[in-house]
Amino acid sequence: MTDYFSVIPAKAGIQGGEPSKGALDPRFRAGDDVIFEAQALPATRVRGYWQTVFYRLRHDAMTLAFAAIVLLIILGAVFAPLLAPFDPYKESIVGRLKPFGWHDHPLGTDELGRDMLSRLLFGGRVSLLMGVVPVLIASLIGGMLGVIGGFAGGRTNTAIMRTMDVFYAFPSVLLAVAIAGAMGGGMANGMLALTLVFIPPMCRVAETATTQVRALDFIEAARASGARTLTIIRYHVLGNVLGPVFIYASSLVSVSILLASGLSFLGLGVRPPLPDWGLMLSTLRQSIYVVPFVCALPGLAIFITSICCNLVSDGLRAAMDVRM
């Protein structure tokens, strides 16, 4: 990372464009005068962009705390086989729907007598996977389409963005349910449905950022000095588009976890007996009169994961914001 853009903290209050479009990378907000300023003020302590971001994150105790919780949840899911006290599939006819602390089951048992704690740990694997994979794939495809559309402009842009508009015309839950419902559920179909739901907004974010960068002078300069289109995209456009795409993607993880669990809840996601938080919530729903608080657990897991992801994403957005 070059130090041309290193006086961002000193340049507080830079505003311009449409701030609502999200925090954009400082390198194209700050503009050329930064170089000049860095030379004029040699005594200013300078920090690179990412250094600034990490500096802010390190001093943001809340975000760090929530990131730690997310990390714990991820570790719990990854090391589920080591941590789980029981086999998550082992059923017991006498031990069905038992409350917290029954025998060796700290969180009780479900409607087939399976240990809740073990199932929650294993369930995290599926739920987290379904939260992250669709967002990753959608960022790749949507981001690529957005950059192509934004950079090419003209008819290509119109064709891509108008197609996206059609998918925008569906409420997101409805679109996910429609696709997963028509294809008949299952984990892969659920992920595919969520990916399709996330591609249009991702594409729009990337397109907006690309269109903004493309109009800047340094792109013109690169072109004038003979750089090929691919080179310009790789070195000048991507760096400026990745920031907004990353921030947006991080905010989608929580949405994706909620939607994925919702699909499983409707019977359109993971199939039993695989443990998944949404599916567990749906099968335990019939037993709320027997062990109400055990039945609320999978939802609590979804809620905690989703709120922590949201707060981490908010923290990242603030840390990566150029206008602060």
Binding site: V166, P171, S254, F303
Partner: protein
């Protein structure tokens, strides 16, 4: 102005067309033959050919689409496989029940969310801002289907104050809002449904208000000697277009996205109809419901855009 409205309305037509293409293709992304569900398992090749012809499945796809579109435009969405009733009747009955929920959820969630966001935005950085921001994050992160279950656990199972599910003994036919014995069935679904829009609106409004407050013209207003109240009025008015766009989206979600909440409360609305259609693999109902809901969504977005342009002259010129 007139030209802007016309352009915006004309623009909605290709979108609606695209939406109908997507809905039409839902039948074809379904695995297996779309006729599998209506065909007896021991049907001969001859019967299959006859049924295929009767349903028009032997024609080329674009032809099938045009025929389907022609029927849809005249209000014929086909017949439900599960109930044998016309889909349009199923959908309109369900939609009226959903509208009943939305009738309460929309004003409640919009006013609470807006006020919360506006207050937080005006006092950005102060304690009340932190409280509102925290509450709003909870709102957007809550799985509403879970919240519904938790509310049922507390209010229906533990304290038996409110009914858990359904619309009461008479169902939707004799539902009378003015009677508490009927209206109490609305309480939990409406609260559950309102939670996410409250969170999203509070966040959006807060961001929009805080952003407008940082603009130069606010400084000018203060320098001119306007009272803080008058300045706030200007700020709120300038933040309105952004807030309204989100309100429009949320309105659409309340009509279409309530599938999870309606499933939890077995509320016989459009979302519940959809989840029943999925369980029964009732493709005509699935198609009809999704098409209707997304067309309502397109219309909502159109209306919001037009309202926005009424408030904000900058949009018209763009």
């Amino acid at each position: 102005m007139g030209r802007y409205i016309l352009r915006r309305i004309l623009y909605a037509i290709p979108i609606a067309f695209g939406v109908s293409v997507v809905c039409f293709s839902l039948v074809y992304i379904a695995p297996g033959d779309p006729l599998q569900t209506v065909m007896p398992p021991d049907a001969t090749a001859e019967t299959i050919a006859i049924v295929k012809h009767a349903y028009g499945f032997d024609k080329p796809l674009p032809m099938q689409f045009l025929i389907w579109l022609g029927r849809v435009v005249t209000g014929d969405f086909g017949v439900s496989i599960a109930t044998r009733r016309p889909v349009i009747r199923e959908v309109s009955d369900a939609l009226s029940n959903t509208a009943l929920l939305a009738m309460f959820a929309v004003p409640i969630s919009f006013s609470i969310g807006y006020v919360m966001g506006a207050v937080a935005g005006c006092f950005a950085g102060r304690w009340i801002d932190r409280v509102v921001t925290g509450a709003a994050v909870v709102g957007v992160s809550l799985p509403n289907y879970w919240l519904g279950i938790v509310l049922v656990i507390f209010f229906a199972v533990e304290y038996m104050l409110l009914p858990a599910t359904g619309m009461g003994p008479n169902g939707s036919v004799g539902f009378n809002l003015l009677q508490w014995s009927n209206a109490k069935f609305l309480v939990l679904p409406v609260i559950t449904l309102s939670m996410i829009p409250v969170g999203i609106l509070a966040r959006t409004t807060r961001a929009a208000v805080a952003e407008v407050r940082n603009q130069d013209f606010v400084q000018t207003l203060r320098a001119k000697g306007l009272s803080e109240w008058a300045v706030t009025r200007h700020v709120l008015k300038n933040a309105m277009p952004q807030v309204m766009a989100v309100m429009g989206l949320q309105f659409g979600y309340l009509l279409g996205g309530s599938i999870l909440v309606e499933t939890v409360f077995t509320w016989p609305g459009s979302g519940f109809l959809l989840s029943k259609a999925i369980i029964n693999r009732d493709v005509p109902v699935l198609q009809g419901t999704i098409l209707t809901l997304s067309l309502v969504f397109v219309a909502t977005n159109l209306i919001v855009d037009l309202l926005q342009s009424l408030i904000d002259p900058r949009i018209r010129r763009a």
